[in-house]
Structures are given as structure tokens and as C-alpha cells.
């Protein structure tokens, strides 16, 4: 039993666990979570179905593990904006762009894990933990801006929840309808929407305008 941080190489078991996670990621991309069976998962990783249970408690536990991996990266994407002050449009847009890229690839299962009200206890646990952390960070940023005199429209906690959810919702939407809007259109509109949500009218908007009095 190697201690955490041990210098020992990955054992056969570690490789199998990795293989299961990779297999899962690939399968969850291809079809809905509910339609992937543990049998498939195990086979794809080269073990028998019953062997699966040596590594994970359930299919949900695998999804939870995948989430943990990816959401961490997402946090990194947004870190710069979260640390900045006021309406730093560029930092916000950059962060969103990074996250969107990830969603384009793993959107199917991210959606199922993050937008589903009842994704099972394991996923729920991970999600709640990370969501609470995210809300508190965004809240603090909003309060900071409010103290600095920027117009902020509502209770920070509620606004933070809105921003976080709006992001997930729109990425989810973009994954579901990739034809509907271009990536730039989505990013510009979402960036502006978040800024407007927080601060009201925003100058120098880069977002394409609605067709003005053209008719």
C-alpha cells in the first residue's frame, strides 16, 4: 500500500483504474450515461464485469471521478477573471473560451453530470462541493466590486448562482445545438450577458447587435 506521494511506479491496478476512466470518458461521449452498461465499461478496459467493482462502487462513482478531474481545469480557466476587478471583459472571455473548448469535447457527459438534477449521490457530492466553492469565489468578487462603487444589481449570492448556472446552461445549449450559433457569437453574447447581469449596461460591447430598425 504505497503512501500518498510515494515514488513507486503505477501498479497493474493503477493502470486498470486509469483504463476504466479513459474507457468511461470515451463511452460517455458516445452515448447517454444511462445507456452505457457496466459490462461495456469493463470490457472496454479489458476486464470482466465483476472486476469493475474492485475499482469503483458504481457507474456514478466513475462519472464523479471524471468530473473531479475536469472541473479542476475549468476552475483554472476562470481563475484570471476571478482574481481581477471590475468588468475585465477580456479575462472573462478568455476564461469562458477555455471552458467552452472542453465542453465541445466532453459536453455530453458534463451536461449529464452538471445539469441533471438527480445524477446520483456520488456525483451530487462532488458537484455540490465544487459549486459551493465557485459561488463563494464569485460572490466575493461581486462584493469587492460593489464596495469599489460599481453598480451591482442584486444580492451577491444570488447573482453568483445566476452567473455560474448561466454559464453551464449556455455551454450545455451550445453542445446540444452546435449548428445554431458560431463559437464567437456565443462567447461574445455570453460574456456580455454576464457583465450586463452584474453591472448593467456595458460600454464597448463586442457582441453583434440585434438587427436594428432595419425592417
Amino acid at each position: 500500500m504505497p503512501a500518498i506521494g510515494s515514488r513507486r511506479g503505477p501498479t497493474k491496478g493503477d493502470q486498470r483504474e486509469r483504463a476504466l476512466l479513459e474507457a468511461a470518458r470515451a463511452l460517455f461521449r458516445e452515448k447517454p450515461f444511462s445507456q452505457v452498461t457496466i459490462d461495456e465499461l469493463a470490457n472496454a478496459a479489458g476486464i470482466a464485469r465483476s472486476g469493475f467493482y474492485f475499482y469503483f462502487e458504481s457507474k456514478q462513482a466513475v462519472l464523479a471521478a471524471l468530473c473531479e478531474e475536469v472541473i479542476g481545469q475549468n476552475d483554472q480557466d476562470m481563475a484570471e477573471w476571478l482574481a481581477s476587478d471590475g468588468l475585465d471583459r477580456e479575462a472573462l472571455r478568455q476564461g469562458l473560451a477555455g471552458a467552452l473548448g472542453r465542453w465541445r469535447v466532453d459536453g455530453r457527459w458534463l451536461r449529464e453530470a452538471l445539469a441533471n438534477p438527480d445524477p446520483g449521490a456520488e456525483v451530487l457530492e462532488v458537484r455540490e462541493r465544487l459549486n459551493a466553492k465557485g459561488c463563494s469565489i464569485v460572490s466575493r468578487r461581486i462584493e469587492r466590486d460593489a464596495r469599489a462603487g460599481l453598480t451591482v444589481g442584486g444580492p451577491p449570492a444570488l447573482l453568483a448562482a445566476m452567473v455560474i448556472k448561466l454559464r453551464i446552461m449556455m455551454f450545455s445549449e451550445a453542445y446540444a445545438n452546435p449548428e445554431e450559433y458560431t463559437e464567437d457569437e456565443l462567447l461574445d453574447t455570453l460574456t456580455d450577458a454576464i457583465l450586463r447581469l452584474l453591472y448593467g449596461t456595458v460600454p464597448e460591447s463586442a457582441a453583434p447587435k440585434a438587427p436594428a430598425a432595419s425592417a
Copy 2:
């Protein structure tokens, strides 16, 4: 086989179908959709499990039927605002309040039907149909406002999707954390958020402000 609109009273079968729908509504309120079995459903309606299949194809089909009933009422709630022009805050808030009331009661299953990415084919079909209708109505309202010279921040279709999703998200959030915010706080903030999303800074906001430079 009575024609549609027949004057004949409800047959035994019609009553059973009704009973199933009511039983389902009650059960789906109490626990997650995935944990309600067809056996329970059938028993609650006073028939054997296999009898269930005479009335519905699957559990999902029941959920879809329930959705159809409720979403219609939701549309009525929002009708006044959708028909109005510009930032008619009162109409918007009223509409949202009506819908929120319904969510307070049936939130659990509404969430599972409307926010879940993979709720099964039947529910998906109903949802897509109604969502498309909703988006197109909101889009038209936005275009109308844009032509009337109001500042609108982004492509109407995308903004419409945002508004619709934001509403569902926040009701869903409110159902999940009923302690977190008061009903008024939520309604004010959501109303303002939608208006700000569409038109930028909004005058005479009723929303409670963030703690201004108090520290």
C-alpha cells in the same frame, strides 16, 4: 371508441388514466423520478403493474403527459408580458411569480423533466416542441423591441434561449434551496436580471442592492 369532443362521460378507463396521472404527480413530488417504480405507480392508482402498460408506454410517457399539462399553464402566466412591449417590469414579474408558485409545488419533477439532459425520448419530444415555441415567441418580442429602438444586446435567438433557460435554472435553484433566498428577493432579482440581460441598465430597479461601500 368515442370521437374527440364526444359528449360521453368518462369511462372506467379514463378514470384510471386520471388516477395514474395523479398518483404519479404525487409520487414524483416525494422522491426522484428514477426511484419511483412502475409497480408503485400502478398500486397507487389501484391496478396491477402489468395493467399500467395498457395506459402508458413507460414511466417517461407519464412524465411527458404531466409536463404537457403544466407547461401550458406556465405559458398562460407569461402571456401578458410576451404580448407587451419594452421593459414592462410589472407584467414580467407577475408572470414569473405565477410560474414560481407552480414550481414550489411540483419543482422536483419539473426539474427532472426540464433541466435533465437525457429525460427519455417522450419527455424530450414534448420539451423540444414547447421550448421551440417559447423561444420563437420571446425572439419575436426581442426583435420587436429592437425595431422600436431599444438597446438589445445580442442575437435575438440566443438571448431568447438565455432568458428561457435562466428562468428554469433559477426556479430549479429556488426549489433546491428554499431557505437561501426569500421569494421576493428571488423574483425581484430574476426580473431585473432578465431586463438587464435584454436591455442593459434598467431604471427604477426594485431589486435589493448589494451592500454598498459599507465596509
